[in-house]
């Protein structure tokens, strides 16, 4: 007799064997799950809230769009100060003492928010637009101090900005060419042009949405929509889904840590939670070798319920 079969014979020696049809069991399981899934699919369909575009953002919340664009230009946005893998902002990457995986991995996706999100798209859109061309030249020729002064003043003015007819209006002030840059960027965005310009990579085909997603993520529009759907990090967001559909409920433990101190307030919460989950997953895999954890099944009577036929006999 072959090795595995004979070792099973030895293992089951003295134990009564009964007929069992594994293939029939699988076929029945396939039919039952098919019925279950077909009924659920027909009755509940599946979630599909339409994606947000730069265009819908600029049309729905132009003040937030312009405020975000100015923060990109001034280097004050989240992406501008993110650190690795987008840039080398010092001390920005999460770390636990000397453990700083993001820094070790380095800048793999270089992003210059001012250039990538604002100035390059505007340059591409400036053809046939002498006003925009002049504004870009004026901004480029001004020194960093002057640019900073314009952007700082304009950022403060945006706090009381109003929007009407696709225009963002602020109180009068010395903003240099910044209002012209922003009004043109907003106009391009509202037509949908910026969605394409942010994807420009010099290649015809494009599947990498890093730049538009980072740009949108820097604003409040996307996160406000997510908060309304209970999807943000402090709302158990990673395990939720739009609407009333079940989401990635299997991420409940990962998401749980973000809801409780000290993780909920830690500046390096992501790194701590990831490491914690890797350790917990390793522990789960190593349960057979860990005293107490491997003994709990014997202490709890659940197995007596599962094998009640065996224990009765």
């Amino acid at each position: 007799m072959s090795g595995a079969a004979s070792s099973q014979d030895r293992y089951y020696a003295g134990i009564r064997m009964v007929r069992y049809d594994l293939v029939k069991e699988l076929v029945i399981a396939l039919v039952v799950t098919a019925l279950l899934v077909l009924v659920a699919a027909a009755a509940f369909s599946s979630p599909d809230d339409p994606s947000v575009t730069i265009q819908t953002w600029a049309q729905s919340d132009p003040v937030d769009f312009v405020t975000t664009a100015v923060s990109e230009l001034s280097g004050q946005s989240e992406t501008a100060g993110y650190g690795q893998p987008y840039n080398n902002t010092p001390d920005a990457a999460q770390a636990i003492g000397p453990i700083q995986p993001a820094v070790w991995a380095g800048v793999s996706t270089p992003i210059n928010p001012a250039q990538d999100f604002v100035l390059k798209p505007l340059t591409l859109a400036s053809t046939g637009n002498p006003t925009l061309t002049a504004a870009l030249q004026a901004y480029d020729q001004a020194g960093a101090t002057q640019q900073g002064a314009w952007l700082d003043a304009y950022t403060k003015a945006l706090a009381n900005a109003t929007a009407s007819d696709g225009q963002v209006t602020v109180a009068s002030g010395d903003y240099g060419p910044v209002p012209t840059l922003m009004s043109n960027l907003l106009a391009v965005a509202r037509t949908g042009g910026l969605d394409g310009l942010l994807l420009d990579s010099g290649h015809f085909f494009q599947t990498d949405f890093t730049r538009p997603l980072l740009f949108m993520g820097d604003g409040s529009y996307l996160s406000n929509l997510a908060a309304a759907q209970h999807l943000t990090g402090d709302q158990w967001g990673m395990m939720n889904e739009t609407g009333s559909y079940p989401g990635q409920t299997w991420l409940w433990l990962y998401t749980f840590w973000y809801q409780v101190p000290p993780f909920s307030t830690a500046p390096n919460a992501d790194l701590v939670v990831v490491i914690l989950m890797v350790v917990l997953t390793a522990l789960l895999a190593l349960v057979p070798f860990i005293p107490i954890l491997r003994d709990i099944p014997r202490w709890l009577p659940v197995h007596r319920l599962i094998w009640r036929r065996y224990y009765r006999s």
């Binding site: 595995a4 947000v52 929509l225």
Partner: protein, 219 residues
């Protein structure tokens, strides 16, 4: 003609023959497709794993259809939406029964009598399945996918993984979801099932009391 050379069957240097004999010894059909089981295999707990596999089969089948027509199809076609819904609910079934299977096997201490590798591969399947589903959610091309990508990048970047696993790169996530991860999951599940069948189902926990350790000898 039956002039077979007996030396051929005893050729110790033949790799093909060695592999065939190893497979015949380790994976006999009697063990892979048994028609008899110990009498205590009569609980619904034993069905959870099979239902999870059934869910996985429907996930792969519906996923093949979705992949064939492309990632945008299900947004613009009612048939596509229905196939996506089958995919979506199959994933829910798969995870529910995989978790039930995992807890069931835990309370049965199924790693006993040399079955620790089977348990460990099972945990790896769970972890890889989470990654598979995650890349699936990122491949939806809807608002949920956008938000998950923006939200999840902080964790992957903080762990240094973002340098080569960019959740904002749809092409990378889609490729991983429809090709690499399904191959990983199905291969691991096949390995897991073979592990179970080679050793057979574990005996009930000895009422006399045992540590339940991975290396516990069979009673």
């Amino acid at each position: 003609m039956t002039d077979r050379n007996p030396a051929i069957d005893t050729d110790s240097g033949n790799w093909t023959l060695a592999i065939r004999r190893w497979l015949e010894r380790r994976l006999p059909l009697d063990s892979l497709l048994p028609h008899r089981m110990p009498y205590y295999v009569g609980s619904w707990v034993y069905v959870f794993g099979v239902v999870a596999i059934a869910g996985l089969i429907w996930i792969v089948a519906s996923g093949v259809v979705l992949a064939f027509f492309g990632p945008q199809w299900w947004h613009i076609s009612s048939v596509g939406r229905f196939v996506n819904s089958i995919h979506f609910w199959s994933v829910q079934v798969f995870f529910i029964f995989m978790v039930l299977h995992l807890w069931g096997q835990y309370f049965m201490a199924s790693w006993r009598d040399g079955r620790a590798p089977t348990w460990m591969i099972g945990v790896v399947i769970f972890a890889v399945s989470v990654g598979t589903a995650f890349t699936g959610y990122l491949s939806q091309q809807n608002f949920d996918a956008q938000w998950i990508a923006v939200n999840a990048k902080d964790a992957t970047n903080a762990a240094g993984v973002g340098a080569f696993f960019n959740v904002l790169n749809f092409g990378q996530m889609y490729g991983l979801h429809v090709m690499i991860f399904p191959i990983l999951v199905t291969t691991l599940v096949a390995l897991h099932v073979i592990q179970v069948r080679i050793r057979g189902v574990v005996k009930p926990i000895d009422p006399a009391g045992s540590a339940g350790g991975a290396g516990e000898a069979s009673k």
